[in-house]
């Protein structure tokens, strides 16, 4: 087994990135004391998008790499997690406990079963790559909300057809049924 140890630039040189950035308003993920108050389903591992994507500024595409080339954004493989967490063990006991779950899962070769947050019915096709192509790689927020600030991901948009169509009307793009339904 060859491990691919490729770390995102932000994670490798977090300090440098911080000093290089002239703005001191960089997002700091809060300390969560009561996870029960968070919106959205509870996940088997308390994976914090706000730390990874917000504080550490790892681009969405680093993990969900296929969103720009495929219909499906994909769930990152455990290997992707372990690529960083082989080295990064966490600074607080709470973080360390969660990272330990990742390492245990890797050792036991048993991937975590995430609870799905965003789902479309089976008769709808949503090609992620077309939307990324049109709106850019940071456009994930358009539908998924400000995930960079979510300690636990919750659905913010209805993902219903009216909501889809309103955006298509606004942007003057196709409203043909057979673009999504087939």
């Amino acid at each position: 087994m060859v491990l691919i140890l490729a770390l995102p630039p932000a994670a490798l040189s977090g300090q440098q990135a911080q000093s290089a950035s002239s703005q001191s308003s960089r997002y700091q993920a809060p300390v969560i004391s009561d996870t029960g108050a968070l919106k959205g389903p509870r996940q088997p591992i308390f994976f914090r998008h706000d730390i990874h994507a917000g504080q550490d500024q790892i681009p969405c595409m680093y993990c969900h790499y296929s969103a720009s080339i495929s219909s499906e954004p994909g769930i990152p493989s455990l290997q992707t997690c372990i690529g960083c967490h082989q080295l990064i063990g966490g600074t607080t006991p709470a973080h360390q406990a969660e990272i330990k779950k990742v390492r245990d899962a890797w050792r036991e070769r048993k991937p975590p079963e995430w609870i799905r947050v965003h789902a479309l019915p089976g008769f709808v096709r949503f090609p992620h790559m077309r939307h990324i192509k049109a709106l850019g790689t940071t456009a994930c927020v358009t539908c998924h909300g400000d995930v960079q600030k979510m300690a636990q991901v919750a659905q913010v948009s209805t993902l219903r057809m009216g909501w889809c169509v309103s955006c298509h009307v606004k942007n003057n793009v196709t409203r043909d049924c057979s673009v999504c339904h087939y």
């Binding site: 070769r109 609870i115 096709r125 090609p127 790559m129 077309r130």
Partner: protein, 997 residues
């Protein structure tokens, strides 16, 4: 709008009320709250979520060795497509190849090793225990007779079995139910070589088949069909005219019905006809005859047309005319096989046809020895008969069976012999009749799960690689044998060592390249053959095979089913539901009876006819058809399994029961028997057929042109009569045109949009129905089963309609097959009647069908003149439902890009809209427009005769635009003003006079 409430508004109101009711019961459509997402541990390098990966491998459904590319999505094989790199099938695939997936994910696969216990039933055993037991049995049986029986294996697997058998003192035998003994024996008779040549149909100028069903079951059907359609198609732009095709045989098979002319010679006289034609060619000096052919004069002397016409049942003038046409075409190719070579004089028939080829110089040019086909290189039936007597005499202590099911094709004889074998081991993946009689079953991987290499012909090694993880706890038989033989390593290493390069340092590169291509493709040089020194045995005897005297005997022809073949396809619902290309019957077998015979015996369609041969008796429902000689009855094989899973078991009757187990003089098996036929008192059954009417009835749905007229066509000609719009419909048509114009001005419909269209060349289409199965595979079409097919509730979005073609005396000369699918009308009758806009017109010219909008009024289907819309009467995807079409793990092959429809929803062909959208998405990512040829529909992709072309009718440089303007082009039911997007190109028939009913 001031008018009163119309239907659409009424239903709108109704919709709101019922939606409220739905909200109360809280069963709206929404995401499941507890759906799980399980990530990969390690992302496979070559897979992107949501994007298909293709792997090249080799189809093992028959021995032809076609290359396939398997579309894999998230680790599941979802579709097979032909591999364009393969020189055999050139990117095309037949229905049986398409259905290989249903073998892989078959719900009745044996999921782990089984052993027979003391009480005689099977129980599970683990692999280690099974192998331990087996190696003990092998030690015990040494010296007492060990036999390994395989199917057609021209492969490294076969080599391994040979090596192992040598090691343990056993022998390998191979068996195919439909062997090619006559072909080998006939080639030895005429040329002194028992090899099978390759046939170049593509360059033939005249094709004459003596019973050889080269489009459906003979040797390499996809390759031959592709070549044949190149020769036989009519191309208006090409100066060369089409090659005429004449079929000689007692019944019209799929191959036969494509003939321009049918010569229904008496069964058993085909060889005599060939010699009579050769005699005419020689005596009238019609061809440049090879020098050594002069020796033939004495053989041919007795075959003057005048002398044999009576026996053949064809008049002298016709024989002479055929001989002239054949010789003067300057590229005549005659082939013999199938029914003509499965009688008592089969080998002599082949030899006679060889001579016919020889005198016109086809041997060496169109019939190429050297590039020999390995397809028929199984042991002869005579050798199998010897094995059976050895078994019956207790001279076989241990028998292994792999890849063949003789207990089905030799019911009685083999089964009895099997009972005398001390220990029987099956490697079958399915509980077929042979496996059911064995003591130990060690299920093999499916071919799509394992490594391998086969050599379908000299010069070509077709490679096989695993494309998915094994579905069950099975093991490659190669691995099992290596272990039993005490050798290290896996079969993968063994086969790579055999096939791979001698120099090991570039092995990785070698395998990367060759596996991507799907094989190692080379050519073998043509070897010249000369007439054999002894030609005395060539003339086929004309004596009739006679049965017991006193009873009125009928000649019964048992022929291989085009889809189920010898029965191996019967456990795949796609193949069961695929209507036979000739009879259009699905799910059961039948007996073909000529209308005159049926009238004589007072038979009606569906009456059970009891056929009693000296070897067995079986009942078959009658199908009355003019495509068989009046003195011949024909029954297909394939059905009548007593095991082999839920789709095959206890279905109809086994035609093999009628056949004997004695070998013929040339070592083959006779498939033509004499039998008595009695009408039974049993109540007649309704045939599970999709046939509407066998005749076109002058509706102009199929158009046929005689060759002379087709040749005279110039660009811009429109030979087909288009009905004017009737006076009463003028207003409606104008109103529609105005609305179209208005629509073109607004939103979606504005701007440059493509108009997707299809061109189908009926001159190329053979009716083989590969497209039908490809459509099932691509579009998640459910199979509905025998009962619902009888009730005409089949779901095939694409069906093949077969219309008989008759001559001036109303004798059937062949058939025209027409694929019928949604015509994607520009002015579609289905659209305005849909109350909920589920059927609507897309901006790119499709008749969209939005499943989630559809409420199932079925108005659209009622208003469709082509009858190409299909309604989900049941929930075919329901777990354990009565009509469940995808029981686990069959559901694994569902295409994730296509919605699985529910009960109450109308569905139909949408020109594979998922492929259109996929290509558009890809083009957008690459910042370009969709190019002509980017989008290939599933039917077009698989079509062995390349009859279907898809593209944009608004693109003046597209192939489909060019074909739509062809003078042979016409629209079906054009008079209805539906403006279809499908252009059919009329069938051209190479005959002076032609008509169709």
């Amino acid at each position: 709008m001031t008018d009163s409430i119309d239907r659409r508004r009424f239903l709108k109101v109704l919709g709101v009320t019922s939606a409220g009711a739905a909200a109360v019961t809280a069963c709206g459509i929404g995401p499941e709250p507890t759906e799980r997402l399980i990530p990969y541990l390690v992302q496979p390098e070559d897979q992107i979520p949501g994007t298909a990966t293709y792997y090249a491998t080799t189809c093992r459904e028959c021995a032809a060795g076609c290359g396939v590319r398997v579309r894999v999505r998230e680790g599941r094989a979802v579709k097979l497509e032909g591999n364009p790199d393969s020189p055999i099938n050139r990117g095309r695939l037949c229905a049986r190849g398409q259905a290989a997936l249903q073998g892989l994910y078959n719900p009745d696969r044996i999921s782990h090793p089984l052993v027979r216990n003391a009480s005689g039933t099977f129980e599970a055993i683990d692999w280690d225990g099974a192998l331990l037991r087996l190696s003990a049995k092998v030690r015990e049986a040494r010296g007492k007779g060990i036999v390994f029986l395989t199917g057609a294996e021209q492969s490294t697997f076969g080599d391994l079995v040979d090596e192992w058998m040598k090691q343990v003192g056993g022998r390998r035998m191979s068996y195919e139910a439909f062997g090619f003994e006559a072909l080998r024996a006939g080639n030895r008779m005429a040329f002194g070589t028992a090899t099978l040549p390759s046939y170049d149909f593509a360059n033939a100028k005249y094709v004459l088949s003596f019973g050889a069903d080269f489009l459906d079951t003979w040797l390499s059907p996809v390759e031959f069909q592709n070549g044949f359609s190149r020769a036989h198609a009519f191309d208006a732009g090409r100066p060369a005219s089409m090659a005429k095709f004449v079929y000689v045989g007692p019944r019209l098979s799929l191959t036969g019905m494509n003939a321009d002319e049918w010569i229904a010679a008496r069964p058993g006289t085909e060889g005599t006809l060939a010699l009579a034609m050769a005699q005419v060619i020689m005596s009238q000096h019609l061809a440049r005859v090879p020098a050594d052919a002069s020796r033939l004069v004495s053989v041919l002397g007795a075959h003057r047309p005048s002398a044999v016409a009576q026996a053949i049942g064809i008049d002298e003038a016709t024989i002479v005319r055929l001989a002239r046409e054949f010789a003067r075409s300057g590229g005549g190719l005659a082939v013999a096989g199938g029914m003509a070579t499965q009688g008592a004089n089969g080998a002599a028939t082949v030899a006679a046809v060889n001579i016919l080829n020889y005198v016109v110089g086809a041997v060496g040019t169109l019939v190429k020895f050297g590039a020999d086909l390995a397809i028929g290189s199984t042991n002869s039936f005579a050798e199998l008969a010897t094995l059976m007597s050895d078994m019956a005499a207790g001279r076989v202590a241990l028998l292994f069976v792999h890849g063949t099911n003789p207990a089905h094709s030799l019911p009685g004889a083999f089964q009895q012999a099997l009972g005398k074998v001390a220990y029987k081991v099956s490697f079958s993946s399915y509980l077929d009749e042979t496996a059911a009689a064995c003591d130990l079953i060690l299920p093999d991987h499916h071919p799509l799960e394992q490594w391998g290499a086969s050599r379908p012909r000299a010069g070509i090694t077709a490679l096989q690689q695993p494309v998915v993880q094994p579905v069950f706890d099975t093991r490659p038989t190669g691995d099992v044998i290596l272990k039993l033989a005490g050798k290290a390593g896996t079969f993968e290493e063994y086969f790579k060592g055999k096939v791979g390069p001698r120099v090991q340092n570039n092995a990785d590169q070698f395998w990367l390249e060759k596996l991507a291509l799907g094989g190692i493709y080379g050519t073998a040089p043509t070897r010249a053959v000369r007439l054999a020194t002894d030609l005395s045995a060539v003339a086929p005897s004309l004596e009739k095979t006679s049965g017991p005297a006193g009873v009125e005997e009928q000649t019964v022809v048992v022929f291989p089913h085009p889809a189920l073949h010898d029965g191996r396809g019967a456990n795949k619902p796609w193949l069961q539901e695929l209507p036979d290309p000739v009879s259009k019957i699905a799910w059961h077998s039948w007996v073909e009876v000529h209308p005159d015979t049926a009238a004589k015996w007072g038979l009606a369609t569906g009456d059970f006819l009891l056929l009693k041969s000296p070897f067995g008796a079986q009942k078959f429902p009658t199908w009355i058809t003019p495509s068989v000689r009046p003195d011949v009855l024909a029954v297909p094989t394939g059905q009548g399994h007593t095991a082999y899973g839920r789709y095959a078991k206890d279905r109809s009757a086994n035609a093999f029961e009628l056949l004997g187990a004695q070998a013929t003089a040339y070592g083959g098996r006779a498939f033509i028997v004499s039998a008595s036929a009695t009408k039974t008192a049993e109540h007649q059954r309704k045939l599970a057929t999709i046939e509407g009417n066998a005749r076109d009835l002058g509706m102009g749905t199929t158009e046929v042109l005689p060759l002379a007229r087709a040749k005279a066509l110039r660009p811009g000609d429109h030979p087909f009569h288009f009905e004017e719009t009737p006076e009463y419909a003028k207003d409606a048509v104008e109103w529609w045109a105005e609305r179209q114009h208005e629509q073109a001005e607004i939103g979606n419909y504005k701007g440059e949009q493509p108009r997707w269209g299809l061109a189908i060349d009926l001159s190329k289409c053979t009716g083989c129905s590969a497209c039908v199965t490809a459509c099932y595979a691509e579009n998640n079409i459910p199979t509905v089963g025998e009962e619902l097919t009888e009730r005409r509730r089949e779901m095939a979005w694409l069906r093949l309609e077969r219309y008989w073609r008759v001559d001036e005396h109303d004798n059937v000369q062949g058939a025209v097959s027409q694929p019928m699918l949604c015509q994607q009308c520009g002015n579609a009758p289905c659209e305005p009647v849909c109350p909920v806009f589920a059927a609507y017109h897309t901006p790119d010219g499709l008749n969209g069908q939005v499943y989630n909008r559809c409420v199932g009024t079925r108005y659209c289907s009622n208003n469709c003149p082509y009858k190409v819309r299909y309604f989900n009467w049941y929930n075919y995807a329901e777990r354990d439902g009565k009509y469940e079409a995808f029981p686990e793990p069959l559901s694994m092959l569902l295409n994730p890009d296509v919605t699985v429809r529910e009960k109450g929803v109308m569905e139909k062909c949408t020109f594979c809209v998922q492929r259109i959208r996929g290509a558009q998405n890809q083009a957008r990512l690459e910042n370009r427009n969709v190019r002509d040829g980017d989008i290939v529909t599933a039917c077009q992709q698989t079509c062995p005769s390349e009859a279907i072309v898809f593209g944009d009718l608004n693109d003046r440089h597209s192939r489909v635009f060019e074909l739509a303007g062809n003078p042979r082009g016409y629209h079906v039911l054009a008079g209805l003003n539906t403006k279809p997007a499908i252009t059919y190109l009329a069938r051209v028939v190479a005959q002076d006079t032609t008509s169709h009913g």
